[in-house]
Symmetry: C2
Subunit: 382 residues, 2 copies
Amino acid sequence: MSSDEIRLARAYLSRVAEPPAAALVRFVAQVGAVRAAKAVRSGEVPPAVDSETSARRAVDRAQEDLEAAAKVGGRLLVPEDDEWPRWPLNALAIAAANNLRCGVEPLALWVRGAANLAEVTRRAVAVVGSRAASGYGQHVAGEFGFGLAEAGVTVVSGAAYGIDGAAHRGSVTAGGPTIAVLACGIDVAYPAGHRALLERIPGHGLVVSEYPPTHTPARHRFLTRNRLIAALAEGTVVVEAGRRSGAKNTAASTAALGRVLMAVPGPITSISSSGCHELLRSGMALPVTSVPEIVESTGRLGVDLVEANRSTDTGPPQGDAMRVFEALGLTAGHSPEAISVESGVELARVRALLPQLELASLAERVESGWKRSQNGDWRGDT
Amino acid sequence: MSSDEIRLARAYLSRVAEPPAAALVRFVAQVGAVRAAKAVRSGEVPPAVDSETSARRAVDRAQEDLEAAAKVGGRLLVPEDDEWPRWPLNALAIAAANNLRCGVEPLALWVRGAANLAEVTRRAVAVVGSRAASGYGQHVAGEFGFGLAEAGVTVVSGAAYGIDGAAHRGSVTAGGPTIAVLACGIDVAYPAGHRALLERIPGHGLVVSEYPPTHTPARHRFLTRNRLIAALAEGTVVVEAGRRSGAKNTAASTAALGRVLMAVPGPITSISSSGCHELLRSGMALPVTSVPEIVESTGRLGVDLVEANRSTDTGPPQGDAMRVFEALGLTAGHSPEAISVESGVELARVRALLPQLELASLAERVESGWKRSQNGDWRGDT
């Protein structure tokens, strides 16, 4: 099966089903993209897949969509590509296995820009917040965007007005790669006032979307998109958020995916910071006040651990990861809370490290929580 | 033994020893104030007491000090008085039993004002912070002072410039009682710019000091004084603090005494909030952004529990206190961290409630942590 066939099949499916299409994603995983596309076209699919695809299954614009993407310098990434962000998106697969609502992997990703998505997400942090941001919030987002880029960290955000835009601009100014995840086609300038920014980002990073070219944004698409922002980054910093800000949805996805959630304190007299203070007070988010604190909170350790696991020379987990590993039960599962107490590693970090240890075959999830994996051991003798 | 004799004895000791005088406090607890004063005068005391008292034991100005206090409308409170804040200061006794540096009870307290100290500390919160406060910090301190007074909560602070002064003024404006704990005599206007404020406070509350009249402030006296601010309140709110602010010392005492430590978030661009953010990031302090949150964090539950314990009709602990009580081991001691996980009550609250349960004879401290008390049980049958 040629990669062109696969790409055409996924391009077709990407327009047929409105994400998140959980049944279709599962169906594709079972039979492969090409067979799945053929089955969807003919309508010979299980009922759950049918209900996700019947409305648009006659719309086959795969070739046109690929050409429209190419026209703006874009392309379609599929899971079969080396450039697919396998590791970041694995969080969605883990969430799916745990029946979490945000746990639906994308069928494909439309991207626009010179950067390699797998490479730029190796060390990435999401910086998000209100559209109606204060001068303070925009200043902080810009500084964080700039500082993270200087520290070699990719800034992921949603290209909205306010915090998102300031974060992207800060990163672009420092010459860092930044990733704008859109709720519309990569050829659609939304918001219109960010047309120039969206034209600049591909030179430094990537504009990414689950939606095919010409797709327009819609409220539910922003919410669906937010899980990708959370998944593509090791952690999410909420710079400013009102009590009903969409950023709180990204925050919820971040926590659900076991990623590190951070929030920036601000004046308690500012309504723009009230959502951040709520996240801090509930204990969901860690307070961060500087780029070094963000880097410290997200940590290279997890990344290094994954790197070690990718090679055949699997080394021992380091630092916090080691402490979490040591706190795991040999036979009985422990809750993340209990592991946090036992290891002295804070809960948000524990939640972030457990899936990483799982991927490294060092930990496994059982009914009662997490335990050491029976198959994996980092000690040289296995 | 008349109460006059006791008061004269404690007035004498209050000038002879520089607080905190741990050995003298223990000696007085053993032999009583009158006998202790006699022994100190004659120099016939244990070596540890001698080293605390030998330099000034010839200075007997007890009568003059009592008269100087009376001249400014003040008086000397002694532990033998009904007005003595027995319950709040018990935290110091518990700390002493655990060999904590801040665990030294005052020998007596010079007070000035119409209020009854035991009554106004029944529901009290400390509001402290930098002298070099920002406009934002002073605004927040003033609002909190006003709002706490309106909510029936006494504001305890240190009468310094900046946050302290703003908190006192807010309370005074709302007509609430406020307590200014000084590091000098109650007849000394320090800082000089707060002379008018210090004259107004006794009309609404109390000016309190461990130091006899005419004593001038000194650096170590501020640090010694800070433990009293922490002890007299159910919790301490740090409104603004630089990285080296004296407020961080009060914060440390608050935590050591098992009281609730709170910090106010502020702009991360403001150096005046950096100490608060440090306290939040380390997990030492809870973030608070409003008076209702402060009231919620300090809680009436503990107070009600104590009230119940004072009467013969000991009711069951309520709410959080109940959950903490239920999480206590019957035979083995558990750490506050483990109790927090078990009860689902946040760690800072657990730390605050355990000593209260101890005083209610419901919990006891053992080598391995905290367990249910063997002697006490709230169920009707004991």
